[in-house]
């Protein structure tokens, strides 16, 4: 334990307080029946040196995208993070500051937030962005709730089986208490949910779709948007920020609200969090946006500056009438995304997208050529795709590949019983031709028992 006061400090402070002892103060504050009278049963305090030794050991027990070659995706990706991102985010002035309540001594955070918001609008082709939400999944749900709140009493939410299954699970959890109906378009044979338009009716508040979808396949967002808008519903699109290096932007496809998992923008995999919920929407919806928003203004001397704005939407002012209960945001991760996008620029984003696309296609070709596997969904994909194991031993295959040094993919059976013999894999710009070829080789060496020959 590393404390900050000496016994002498404590005595001097007690004296100034006029208390005989710490016990006197505590006794006065906490009634006897609420006092805890033993020592917490926790592991003993350790020094930094011991803690490091232990934690290094625990960390070494985990496979990771550093120790293994990573082909896992499903919303969390092994993209390259330039060192400059870490260099900025590790500055104490950023990571040990708090919500910029005092604008005068928070211009660093506020300006970075404003830049982040602008970048998100540039990225999405939509009008406004907030300063971030928890993660992609809860951002998708917040977007649906936003749409419901402007839906003039409409209670129907339409989504599709090709939206990230975890996002849909969260949506179910949240909608449970709100008395809304959730209908889900099925997975079509081509890996899309093209029938989603058929579910839209005049009670539909919004349509939640993902493009590229959970399987990497492209959906017809423009068509879906047209149908939704015709029915008076809003469109929420889950997108992959990296894909926008090449694909049309949500705003340009007709989406009213776009949300994304921002992990791919310079944030580490970190076993799922903290991540970054990205959200942008059309201007008309701005006063329904959850979370913090930084806005531009001038100070008393006339200098341009930035402040938290539109706070009357927020819980600390409106309490139960707020647009959302969200208080903290993910500023540090949004900062990382801001630095990341500044480093990439349009050209870097385009090239990254191109790498992902081409390498994914190359990996598809490698795997297609193996007898054991096939690609169940036809048509173009971006960054990820589904592989079918004709021997039906996906778990054994993944375990065997782990032994060979690969994070090979994600079995789909848990979420899609019909895809019990399939797994999802992703290929980012980090993967090399040699790695992909070696991966194909390793896959071809896994016997159906799941044990690698000669291992």
């Amino acid at each position: 334990m590393y404390l900050f006061h000496t016994e002498a400090d404590r005595r001097a402070m007690l004296e100034s307080i006029g208390a005989a002892s710490m016990e006197e103060i505590l006794h006065q504050q906490i009634p006897e029946n609420a006092r805890f009278d033993r020592t917490l049963d926790l592991p003993p305090a350790v020094s930094e040196m011991e803690l490091q030794r232990e934690v290094v050991r625990a960390a070494a027990e985990n496979a990771s995208a550093v120790s293994h070659v990573c082909f896992m995706g499903a919303g969390a990706y092994d993209h390259f993070v330039p060192a400059a991102v870490d260099a900025i985010a590790s500055r104490g002035e950023f990571f040990t500051s708090y919500t910029p309540y005092q604008a005068e001594v928070s211009q660093g955070n506020l300006q970075a937030m404003f830049e982040y918001e602008t970048l998100v609008t540039q990225l999405t082709g939509l009008d406004v962005s907030n300063a971030s939400l928890y993660d992609g999944g809860s951002a998708a749900v917040e977007a649906v709730i936003m749409a419901l709140s402007v839906g003039k009493g409409r209670k129907r939410v339409v989504t599709a089986a090709t939206v990230h299954p975890e996002y849909r699970q969260i949506l179910e959890t949240y909608l449970h208490g709100l008395g809304c109906e959730l209908v889900t378009a099925p997975l079509e044979a081509d890996g899309t949910s093209s029938s989603v338009t058929e579910l839209i009716d005049d009670q539909t508040a919004c349509v939640l779709i993902q493009h590229p979808n959970f399987f990497g396949r492209l959906e017809e967002v423009a068509e879906i948007s047209a149908a939704a808008h015709a029915a008076g519903a809003l469109v929420v699109q889950v997108f992959d920020p990296i894909s926008l290096g090449t694909l049309k932007r949500p705003g340009d496809l007709g989406a009213d609200i776009a949300v994304a998992e921002g992990q791919c923008l310079g944030n580490p995999l970190a076993f799922g969090g903290p991540y970054l919920g990205v959200m942008a929407c059309r201007n008309e919806l701005v006063r329904r946006l959850p979370g913090r928003i930084a806005g531009q203004t001038v100070d008393r001397r006339g200098n341009r500056c930035w402040v938290l704005t539109l706070q009357t939407r927020e819980q600390h002012i409106r309490r139960e009438k707020a647009t959302s209960n969200i208080c903290s945001n993910q500023t540090l991760l949004a900062l990382r995304a801001t630095v990341y996008l500044s480093l990439l620029g349009p050209q870097g984003l385009q090239e990254t997208a191109e790498h992902c696309y081409r390498k994914t296609r190359f990996a598809q070709q490698q795997i297609e050529s193996l007898q054991r596997f096939s690609l169940p969904f036809t048509g173009p994909v971006f960054k990820e795709f589904v592989v079918k194991d004709h021997q039906g031993d996906v778990q054994g295959l993944m375990a065997a590949m782990l032994e060979q040094g690969y994070l090979a993919g994600i079995p789909l059976g848990t979420w899609y019983p019909e895809l019990q013999d399939c797994y999802l894999m992703a290929v980012t710009e980090r993967r090399t031709r040699a790695e992909i070829e070696a991966f194909g080789q390793a896959l071809s060496n896994v016997p159906s028992s799941g044990v690698v020959a000669g291992a």
Partner: protein, 483 residues
């Protein structure tokens, strides 16, 4: 340079990150994406060189106050020192580069740390069942209220009401609303504590949960706490503890022991995760045994026989999922590191020192400003500039702004709402007596000042008194060419 925006620094053709040329065979793999899906050009992001980016953000950072640079007595936010060891350890490749959907077998070290954290949080709270999934305190509140909802649903009880204290954080009523409850506020009494009579009058079989913060937002431990929780339980309701102020009672008092049924932690406060300019935080929750079945999926279980850890997804009564993947692991790991660095006795000392520091500062501040509630406090206290405003025209906001010129971050002002011109001060246990003395001295000087010196403060910062009203009336929430 730092006052220009990235977009204004952009010059067409500049680049920082470069990618390798694509291998020709890879480049030739398959056909192009269908043209109808492709944008004519990539998004109009700014174009900068790496040096421009580094200089821009490095200089930007220096416009922030932060714990690493300044005393930051922001009440209710627990801005304490963030140990550097925690950053180093959280960045280890075996922790920072783990994919969230890896198999349990490939995650044993990670799962062990998180499982141990579950146990630690249970021991500290006195509540045995833990979910690490919520992404923030408010998210923990919402999750717990959903758990309560599921619990009453299972029991077939219709309890649509959540009671909150009028001194509560705004997240309490907002979370209740999101969970589908009606909310009613319970008044504070003259001592700033729960008005027990008012509470009793509102308790009935329609009340699901009473949400309270203890120590409360005035920094007071409610001495009626056991009566309060007994009353709620008697009415068939559950007690939710907002754990925002846990830094005051580690090892001194346990929510589970004083009658709370559910609570969340703010590990970024209590266990010193860096606040990151507003986040990320995390909001793990602890609940009683009988609420455990309703916790979100997954939880971590330990097979003692084989000494293996696994993620448990098969939870039939669970409310479901509240977040994608596991949770805010990075923040949780820092909490684990923190707790391991202190142990049981250390954590008690942390809270004792937090209470000591607050009382010490209170003993000085009460000679400068009125402190309406309590001669003594827990980890923080709320002074009032009400009299000062009447007599000298100096408002809580003026104090907040002027103290910046003395090299201190401002206290929280205008919260809690139950105190007029509130000035809420939380020194934490990581600030030295000398720093507290210097702050009290500065506060005293501020109250002696008047006129423009006060009303136009701060004077030493790059900007002063931004026009919030204009910002909200005609919102400019992104850069546009020519702005």
């Amino acid at each position: 340079q730092s006052t220009q925006l990235l977009f204004e620094l952009s010059r067409s053709g500049r680049r920082a990150a470069l990618l390798p040329d694509l291998d020709p065979e890879v480049a030739a793999a398959g056909e192009d994406l269908p043209a109808e899906h492709c944008a004519a050009s990539p998004p109009p992001l700014p174009e900068l060189a790496e040096g421009d980016v580094i200089r821009h953000f490095t200089n930007l950072s220096t416009l922030n106050m932060s714990v690493d640079t300044h005393f930051y007595p922001l009440g209710s936010c627990t801005m304490k020192y963030n140990p550097k060891r925690n950053e180093r350890l959280a960045a280890l490749p075996g922790l920072a580069d783990v994919h969230p959907l890896q198999t349990d077998e490939s995650l044993q070290g990670m799962l062990r740390l998180l499982y141990d954290l579950q146990n630690m949080l249970a021991e500290i709270s006195g509540l045995p069942a833990v979910s690490l999934q919520p992404a923030a305190g408010a998210h923990g509140e919402l999750t717990a209220l959903m758990v309560a909802h599921a619990y009453f649903a299972k029991r077939g009880e219709d309890r649509p009401v959540v009671l909150t204290a009028d001194s509560a954080h705004g997240t309490n009523p907002a979370s209740a609303a999101m969970a589908g409850f009606e909310t009613k506020a319970v008044k504070s009494n003259a001592d700033g504590l729960v008005d027990l009579e008012d509470l009793r009058s509102k308790l009935n079989d329609r009340v699901a949960v009473f949400m309270l913060t203890n120590p409360n937002t005035l920094g007071l431990f409610d001495h009626q706490i056991c009566e309060i929780t007994a009353a709620v339980h008697e009415a068939g309701g559950l007690v939710y503890l907002d754990g925002a102020n846990m830094n005051a009672i580690l090892g001194l008092s346990r929510p589970g022991d004083f009658g709370a049924d559910m609570m969340h932690y703010n590990p970024h406060k209590t266990f010193s995760g860096p606040h990151g300019g507003g986040g990320p935080g995390a909001g793990p929750i602890c609940v009683r045994d009988f609420l455990e079945p309703f916790l979100p999926s997954p939880t971590i279980e330990h097979d003692a026989e084989q000494d293996r850890y696994r993620l448990q997804y098969d939870r039939p009564e669970s409310i479901g999922r509240v977040r994608s993947f596991f949770g805010n692991t990075g923040v949780l790991l820092r909490a684990y590191f923190y707790i391991r660095s202190y142990g049981g006795e250390g954590l008690r000392q942390v809270s004792e020192d937090a209470v000591l520091g607050a009382n010490y500062l209170l003993s000085k501040v009460k000679h400068i400003l009125d402190v309406p509630h309590g001669e003594r406090c827990m980890h923080e206290f709320v002074a009032s500039a009400s009299r000062l405003k009447k007599e000298q025209g100096t408002s809580a906001m003026d104090i907040a702004k002027r103290i910046l010129d003395y090299g201190f971050h401002a206290p929280t002002v205008y919260f809690p709402l139950v105190v007029d011109e509130a000035v809420m001060i939380e020194p934490t246990e990581t600030e030295s007596k000398e720093t507290l003395d210097a702050f009290a001295e500065a506060l005293f000087r501020v109250t002696e000042e008047a006129g423009d010196l006060i009303h136009e403060a701060p004077h030493s910062t790059r900007i002063s008194r931004p026009n919030d009203v204009a910002a909200a009336r005609k919102p400019i929430v992104k850069w546009t060419e020519g702005d």
